[in-house]
């Protein structure tokens, strides 16, 4: 248990030292989301009708870009190799690392999303629904992104390739996430999409670290 906490604290230190990386994700999320009312119709009805897809799109984009170098530095300075050699379960260590990464790249997005939601004239409990949807979907996305970052580790410019691999896999989450937000704003039932998102989150938390670990092992040897 202790070594998992140690790894977690180490990740925290790294994130604090590289605070620009964390900030990049937030800025990307904020800017892509705010661009739509700036460049198109900023009427209330129109913005309320597109806020769901835009939230999902911006969080997808921000987490994709902030995660494409998730393992790169650790791979180059040998940390991944040490984790692989340690007696502790590699899958567990990867799980810890992914959770820490979620805390520094996705949690800020969820906090900022409240502000963006009010820019889009969303009010009341819909803001909480948006944050909850983002929580569920970023938890899933982070596992998919970690897998893709692991598998493209040896490639020099993985950006476009990662997008190509991630997009089809993430599509269901984006669809149901924006569905949940739309339904909430229209006053419809949101339990269906949220159940689906929760199910996908559990599936990805269970399978994700395991697949990521095997992808890292492939990239290491």
């Amino acid at each position: 248990m202790e070594s998992y906490f140690q790894l977690f604290f180490r990740e925290t230190k790294v994130a604090v030292k590289r605070w620009t990386d964390v900030l990049t994700g937030i800025i990307l999320f904020f800017l892509t989301a705010i661009l739509f009312p700036l460049i198109s119709d900023s009427g209330k009805d129109f913005l309320l009708s597109i806020v769901g897809p835009i939230m999902m799109f911006s969080s997808f984009f921000a987490s994709l870009l902030s995660m494409q170098n998730m393992f790169k530095a650790d791979f180059q300075n040998g940390t991944i190799e040490q984790l692989l050699l340690s007696k502790k379960s590699f899958v567990g260590l990867i799980f810890t690392k992914t959770l820490a990464f979620w805390l520094f790249t996705s949690l800020p997005l969820i906090l900022v999303s409240g502000l963006i939601a009010s820019i889009y004239f969303v009010t009341g409990k819909d803001i909480l629904i948006i944050q909850m949807t983002l929580f569920l979907s970023t938890m899933t996305m982070i596992n998919i992104n970690a897998f893709t970052a692991a598998i493209t580790l040896g490639i020099r410019y993985p950006g476009a390739l990662m997008t190509l691999i991630i997009t089809p896999i993430t599509l269901p989450i984006l669809i149901f996430g924006s569905k949940a937000i739309e339904n909430s704003i229209l006053g419809l039932d949101i339990s269906g999409p949220l159940y689906f998102l929760t199910g996908m989150m559990m599936l990805s938390l269970f399978l994700g670290p395991w697949i990521t670990a095997s992808a890292l092992k492939i990239s290491m040897d």
């Binding site: 598998i151 190509l164 691999i165 896999i169 599509l171 689906f196 996908m200």
Partner: protein, 242 residues
């Protein structure tokens, strides 16, 4: 059969011999069936009373759409075998399926668009089937690009196989999420083909075409994977003996 077959045909020389013997049979049988099916479809089958002659593109559209899906399933299956038994042969089969699967998906999409333009008035709608076919194309392209961009053969094989397996797990989820999204989102657009259920005279060329396409596809995969195996094993003694 089963495990024994995997061990036997997992060895490259055995696989090569088996595949080169299988290929001509599949090729000629497939070509024959495609000829019969095309003749039946293009000349013998009666005109559709709603769509006229344009419906005949179905004889190329449906088999390729059908194959695009089963080819992905075959690729995923080969990838699983490759990952579990670390079989080089299975990896070469998966690798050689990918471009042809992508080709079939493209043909299905293009013929569908050609068909849709006169029939529906538009080449593309965000209908569930079209969307998931398009996503399938993206999955194929992801596999091919990943395989091409990793320099080391073994690493490329195993990484791309992981992606293919993940795609297999995800394909049903993607398909149903698109279907649900679509049905919830807008009124059902166009359900093709089911208005007048298809008659026997139109149906048999279609079935012949599907089976012909499958045999032809197997033949193509035999040729491509045997070439791939030869390329990978070019330093071994049995290849030098050929």
């Amino acid at each position: 059969m089963g495990l024994k077959a995997i061990y036997k045909y997992g060895s490259p020389p055995n696989f090569y011999r088996f595949v080169t013997r299988l290929e001509p049979w599949c090729l000629y049988f497939g070509l024959l069936l495609i000829l019969i099916g095309s003749a039946g479809g293009l000349f013998l089958a009666p005109k559709d009373y709603q769509m006229g002659d344009a419906f005949r593109i179905i004889y190329f559209h449906v088999p390729s759409a059908y194959l695009s899906m089963s080819a992905y399933a075959a690729m995923g299956f080969a990838s699983i075998i490759g990952i579990v038994w670390r079989s080089n042969v299975a990896f070469s089969v998966a690798k050689s399926i990918a471009p042809f699967g992508a080709l079939m998906t493209t043909i299905a999409l293009l013929t569908g668009m050609l068909w849709g333009k006169p029939m529906w008035g538009t080449a593309w709608v965000w209908d569930a089937r079209l969307t998931s076919e398009f996503i399938l194309l993206l999955l194929y392209l992801g596999y091919i690009t990943l395989h091409a961009s990793i320099r080391e053969q073994k690493k490329a094989d195993r990484s791309a196989s992981l992606v293919a397996i993940l795609g297999i797990i995800n394909l049903p989820i993607i398909h149903y999420s698109v279907v649900w999204w679509n049905t919830l989102h807008q009124a059902s657009t166009i359900s093709k083909l089911d208005s007048p259920s298809i008659v026997g005279e139109m149906l048999w060329p279609l079935l012949v075409m599907i089976i012909g396409y499958m045999f032809f596809f197997v033949a193509v995969i035999c040729r491509a994977s045997s070439a791939e195996v030869l390329k990978r094993e070019k330093r071994s003694s049995w290849v030098k003996a050929i």
